[in-house]
């Protein structure tokens, strides 16, 4: 008899169900905990508008939009990271490290502080993300996203974009700089409704496309020659993956700013939970949302009434984990 009692498919299913359940719990926690504490039961009632007026107001008017924004942006960042890591075959190759976040931020801040442009921040952030990726790709040479040059050029572009953001902020009136500040550290405070809607639509579309191309994407983990011989059009698949990664990053940054490390850590954890050989798209997205909401909840409550931006929390909590991953003797699935 084979000792396989739990098949890999069943394990995957269980992981996804557990993550979805956990996300639900985190959502309820994020809706009930804050300056005003509301019991979980009242929170659920408030969602349908059937709790007391105070709870209804706090949950529906004050917290729900923030939770939705955190959920969507966390999922989008993690999905973008998962894609980029797969395409580059390198777990450090996330939009944050390749400088796409920073470029998106720089472009968006330009529109906020009004450096002669008045396009909506989401579109500016998208333009920034696309520009950074295009430049990094252009500098990467023949190896495309696969070589270290892609990552190194990305790091350079990210540094420049970060500096440009600082210069812009230092040259405008203090009020405008204050308005743009949450952008630079990553926060769910500054979200605009329009940006969240755009992100929701973008995430839905990207996810549907990814479900459709998940099999060819999976083969990109094998050597190129094998992927081709299995019928994968690798250039098309890579381009599509890169484009979706850029789209998701741009739209997410427009909502929450450059919240670091979620794009790196969520897929990393998802890979170790799910069966190998399949790119853990859904698990990454779920974990990204969980990380984002948990970090934001901690940021709101730890030093209340002072609020710590979510980007600072992910940096503080995420860095030790990142170090542990890097120093671990045997990395899993990606180099």
């Amino acid at each position: 008899m084979t000792p396989h009692i739990i098949t890999p498919d069943k394990r995957n299913m269980a992981v996804h169900l557990a993550l979805a359940g956990l996300l639900l719990l985190v959502c309820i926690a994020a809706l009930s905990i804050g300056t005003v504490r509301i019991s979980p039961q009242d929170t659920l009632r408030a969602l349908t508008g059937s709790a007391d007026p105070m709870s209804n107001f706090v949950v529906r008017e004050l917290r729900l939009a923030r939770v939705v924004a955190g959920l969507l942006s966390g999922a989008a960042l993690a999905l973008a990271g998962c894609l980029m890591q797969t395409l580059a075959r390198n777990r450090l190759a996330t939009p944050g490290i390749i400088g796409i976040d920073n470029a998106a931020t720089a472009f968006a801040v330009a529109s906020v502080v009004g450096v002669g442009v008045s396009v909506a921040p989401p579109l500016m952030a998208l333009a920034g993300a696309a520009t950074a990726t295009a430049i990094a790709f252009g500098l990467a040479g023949v190896q495309g996203t696969r070589g270290y040059r892609f990552i190194v050029s990305g790091i350079g572009i990210g540094a420049i974009a970060g500096a440009v953001t600082q210069v812009m902020l230092s040259r405008v009136a203090i009020d405008a700089a204050n308005a743009a500040y949450p952008w630079t550290v990553g926060s769910l405070n500054a979200r605009a409704e329009q940006s969240v809607l755009l992100l929701g639509a973008g995430l839905a579309i990207a996810y549907l496309i990814l479900l459709n191309i998940r099999r060819p994407l999976n083969t990109l983990q094998l050597p190129d020659a094998t992927a081709i011989s299995l019928g994968t059009r690798i250039k098309t698949t890579r381009f599509l993956g890169l484009a979706l990664s850029v789209l998701l990053t741009g739209l997410a940054v427009a909502v929450c700013g450059p919240v670091g490390l979620i794009a790196l850590l969520a897929p990393e954890l998802a890979r170790s939970l799910c069966r190998p050989g399949r790119i853990p798209l859904t698990a990454s997205a779920l974990l990204g949302a969980i990380f984002m909401l948990t970090a934001d909840l901690l940021g709101r409550t730890l030093f209340a009434p002072l609020e710590v931006p979510v980007g600072i929390i992910t940096a503080i909590l995420g860095s030790p984990y990142l170090l542990w991953i890097l120093l671990r003797p045997s990395p899993r699935s990606l180099t």
Binding site: D224, S229, L230
Partner: protein, 265 residues
Amino acid sequence: MSHTDTATLAAERITLAHQKYIVAENLDLRLPTGRVTAIVGPNGCGKSTLLNGLARIHVPKRGAVLLDGKDIHRLPSREVARKLALLPQDNSAPEGLTVADLVRFGRQPHQGWMKPWSEEDQRTCDRAIQAANMSDLSGRALETLSGGQRQRAWIAMAVAQRTPLLLLDEPTSALDLGHQIEVFELIRELSRQGKTIAMVVHDLASACRYADHMVAMKQGCIIGQGAPHELVTPALVRELYGVSCDLIHDPATGSPVLVNVRRQH
């Protein structure tokens, strides 16, 4: 799909290049259907490049690779993948991937948005794993296997693709003698079931022993093609490898064996 399915693969005056450098020029080749073809030659002669060209990994600068008479680069990639499988030299895989996981990849060309994983896919995978004699190891992660076992797992993946054509790039490099024989006998068995096979082989003796047809390459050109016992002569060996040798015939199988190999003076 049955094993009686056949497909023809031929190269018509193809020139292959790595970026600017022309590696092989003006090659004409037709794989004999249902047979094992070995491509031999010294290091850097372009034999792997030729195999990759046949498998549409490289796009030829000039000429065309014809699959069933049609230019392989104009056919939909998935359609080609249902007729032709390649076992490349690089067989790195994500860590933790099991033999069964790997073999499942072989069904990809047969799956689609409207065609999820089916009973038939599962049966085909099971049979492929069985054919490669890997049933007991199907739940093991690839990195825990020996070189020979890993190579058989990759062959099982290509077998699960159920293609009439199978191309193998140095399937026995880095394997010890016992594992080499194991892999070669598996290849012979697949050929008996009707597959048309082409493989790049380093060892001339093995090529003589296990191939029906041989293509000899030197400096990017095909310098001879034919049945091993007709093609392989001391003159050919000298031209290919720059060594002198004598030729005898294996009393058991009749295939040519090189003896008294020495540097040419």
